[in-house]
């Protein structure tokens, strides 16, 4: 493993802007780069990139997949990486883009260095930051691997083995606006909204389940009966069925309040991502833990509450864990990458590739 090359590759990658959804140019760049490294590549209809490396010094026919997202959040144009004191950071006016280009750089270094490996699939998704859109639309028929690793997240050593199902619920009540002094001519949209919220179970519902009303907005002037009220709520649970049940319960409460107060309501409930929970003793988890432990960092399996491309991979029957890549303060201008952790991850991936050869 060549640390200097690893950091150079990373710096090259972050200089190419790829703010979602404008990440196609970066995907093309990756396409060329991966071809140069010896992969055959294909793009699916959405533009996700799938690169296939044949086995090297190995007769293994069992492919293994790694995946990163190619897009970044804003502000991600004109990123100029600065290397100092063991970290890489931006100049301060942009994010760094370490989320998720550290993962890409680490994989590239690993595939270059691994002396042997089984067939490897490397997937670069689009628009992860918009709500795992790329991996929702990914053409899974193009993927042969029966297990995968999403390289994403911050502190190297973390292995994420579970994440929740999340529903985003948008509610819009429509009543009848009128002057406040003429209540007979109006019908408040805010009252059913408030009644509904007061009836919701919110906060932590059980160890694996949460619910929240994030925003409310209604009315225009103090002396007007509000004709509109909008609510954005969510619920999530590591137990998929539970998330579905809570989302239904919330929808019903929102709708019942509309009936009760004779206003119209539009309730849109959408699943943002699907839960997964990998057993600690599964092959995919054990391999990651073992590889990290052998390469200088104590692995820590964890369950988180957000969503990743891994949620969608798992939902499509590919057991997929998330391995952190060595970045910090992501989605801010203070974002930085820890070079030492990047080296550990590159070595860890090499180890994983070689041990499956």
């Amino acid at each position: 493993m060549d640390s200097k090359r690893l950091v150079n590759t990373f710096c090259e990658l972050v200089r190419i802007p790829s703010e979602s959804p404008n990440d196609k140019e970066f995907i093309s760049y990756m396409d060329n780069l991966l071809k140069k490294e010896g992969a055959k590549t294909v793009k699916d209809d959405f533009g996700n990139l799938i690169a296939k490396f044949p086995a090297k010094n190995s007769t293994s026919k069992t492919p293994i997949a790694f995946a990163c997202h190619g897009d970044t959040v804003k502000p991600g144009i004109g990123i100029d990486p600065v290397v100092e004191n063991g970290v890489v950071k931006s100049k301060g006016d942009t994010i760094l883009g370490a989320d998720d280009k550290t993962g890409i750089a680490e994989f590239l270094e690993a595939i270059k260095c691994a002396k042997k490996h089984p067939p490897v699939e490397f997937i670069v998704t689009r628009c992860e930051e918009l709500g795992t859109v790329g991996s929702v639309k990914l053409d899974y028929s193009l993927i042969e691997s029966k297990m995968a690793y999403v390289l994403d997240e911050e502190v190297v050593g973390d292995v994420i083995i579970g994440a929740p199902t999340k529903f985003a619920i948008r509610v819009e009540y429509t009543g009848q606006a009128a002057h406040a002094s003429e209540p007979e001519s109006g019908n408040s949209a805010v009252i059913p909204a408030a009644k509904a919220i007061s009836r919701l179970r919110l906060g932590r519902l059980d160890q694996r389940t949460t619910a929240n009303v994030g925003t409310i907005e209604g009315g225009e002037v103090v002396n007007g009966i509000p004709g509109k009220a909008k609510i954005v709520a969510e619920c999530r649970s590591l137990d998929h069925d539970k998330a579905v049940a809570v989302a239904k319960e919330m929808e019903k409460i929102f709708k019942d309040a509309a009936d009760e107060f004779k206003v119209k309501v539009d309730v849109r409930s959408e699943m943002s991502y699907h839960a997964f929970l990998l057993p600690e003793n599964s092959d995919v988890v054990k391999s990651a833990v073992d590889a990290l432990n052998k390469n200088g960092v104590k692995a820590k399996t964890t369950v988180i509450t957000g969503g990743f491309d891994a949620n969608n991979f798992n939902a499509h029957g590919i057991p997929t864990a998330v391995m952190a890549t060595g970045c910090r303060d992501i989605h801010t201008k203070d974002e930085y990458a820890v070079i030492k952790e990047m080296e550990i991850m590159a070595n860890t991936i090499i180890y994983m590739l070689e041990s499956r050869a």
Binding site: H179, A180, E182, A193, I197, V232
Partner: protein, 361 residues
């Protein structure tokens, strides 16, 4: 004798002069000139810019001055008003308001000045900024007025006689919760939206009794779906023709807000503002009886009532010196580009106020 053609001409001249509040000073200056030309003995513009024009008694020995007041400002869109005179009504061209609110009233007062054969001393007040806060009538220098009774012309129909208005309170409430990631540490958060919802659920809203209403006008809170909202605020109002009742409702509302905050351990900040103060003029008072009688003489059946909103009369009556009722202008659909004024009703109002001043002479 009312001259319909002259009344229409005056009206059209007045609405062509833009006076969207607070840019109504040019119009006030125009009115000062016009009223001087009509024979005002003296005019004063007070520190806020309201116009007071005084007329001596005409063919009358009465010493008791009578106040007639209209506001000079209009709402938007009120620039470039082009009145279109149809057979029965006057409208704008459709891209602006008409400005009949309240220039119809001013035109009627001017017509009254021109046609009344006799009248007591008159004080004509044209206020600024009735449509915004602070209203000109709130800032008016009342020490300049000597009237014993007054009329604000600022309602709809010629039969309207408004003898009461409400006390109204506007209240802004800010709840302060505690933010936390909704999916990770919900235990660490306090949802300000939940507090807000609890409070609103416990408020009595809508029509509370014949003269009282309450309303939540605006709610706003939170930043993102995955964050337990730290801040939520609402704007509520309550109003009642009975000042005491309005205060009781306000007190009850504040208790509800405080209790909701307490229940969830949230902070609360309540800011109240007195928007209107109630007034009520007895039906048997002179200002009302003279009006009813004048309407009868002109074939109009009076419609004596209270209103739920405020006018300049709210501020004038608050001074407690000049019992002032509100009469109609003869217009409809104020504050919209569909606003229009009914020509016959304008004539009727001009006739009624002419009769009033002649009867008081």
């Amino acid at each position: 004798m009312i001259d319909k053609g002259r009344l229409i001409k005056t009206f059209c001249e007045l609405v062509r002069i833009p006076s969207v509040s607070p840019d109504d000073k040019e119009f006030i200056a125009y009115m000062e000139k016009l009223l001087k030309k009509e024979g005002a003995k003296s005019t004063t513009i007070d520190t806020f810019g309201n116009l007071i024009a005084r007329f001596d008694a005409k063919n009358s020995s009465s010493k008791d001055a009578v106040l007639f007041s209209c506001h000079g400002d209009t709402v938007s869109p009120g620039i470039g008003i082009e009145p279109v005179v149809e057979e029965k009504v006057i409208r704008s061209k459709g891209d602006t308001i008409l400005g009949g609110d309240d220039k119809g009233g001013i035109a009627e007062i001017v017509e009254m000045l021109r046609s009344a054969k006799k009248h007591p001393p008159l004080e004509i007040v044209i206020t600024r900024c009735e449509e915004i806060v602070p209203a000109g009538a709130e800032m008016l220098d009342y020490s300049l007025l000597k009237s014993k009774m007054g009329y604000v012309i600022d309602m709809d129909a010629p039969s309207d006689v408004i003898i009461g208005g409400p006390t109204a309170f506007f209240v802004t409430v800010k709840f302060k919760g505690k933010p936390a990631h909704a999916g990770v540490y919900p235990e660490k958060g306090i949802s300000a939206i939940q507090v807000l919802a609890e409070a609103i659920s416990n408020l009595k809203l809508g029509r509370l009794d014949e003269g009282s209403t309450a309303n939540v006008g605006v709610v706003k809170g939170g930043t993102a779906s995955n964050v337990i909202p730290e801040d939520a605020e609402l704007e509520v109002e309550c109003r009642s023709l009975d000042d005491k009742k309005a205060r009781e409702i306000l007190k009850e509302m504040k208790t509800v807000f405080n209790n909701a905050a307490k229940k969830f351990g949230a902070g609360v900040e309540i800011k109240e503002e007195t928007a209107l103060v109630a007034y009520s003029i007895p039906k048997d008072s002179k200002v009302v009886q003279i009006t009813i009688n004048a309407m009868k003489k002109n074939g109009i059946k009076e419609d004596v009532k209270s209103m739920a909103g405020g006018t300049d009369a709210t501020h004038i009556n608050l001074q407690g010196k000049i019992p002032t009722v509100v009469l109609g202008i003869g217009g409809r659909m104020y504050h919209s580009t569909d606003e229009y004024i009914v020509i016959d009703e304008m004539v009727a109002v001009a006739n009624v106020i002419t009769t009033i001043v002649e009867d008081l002479a």
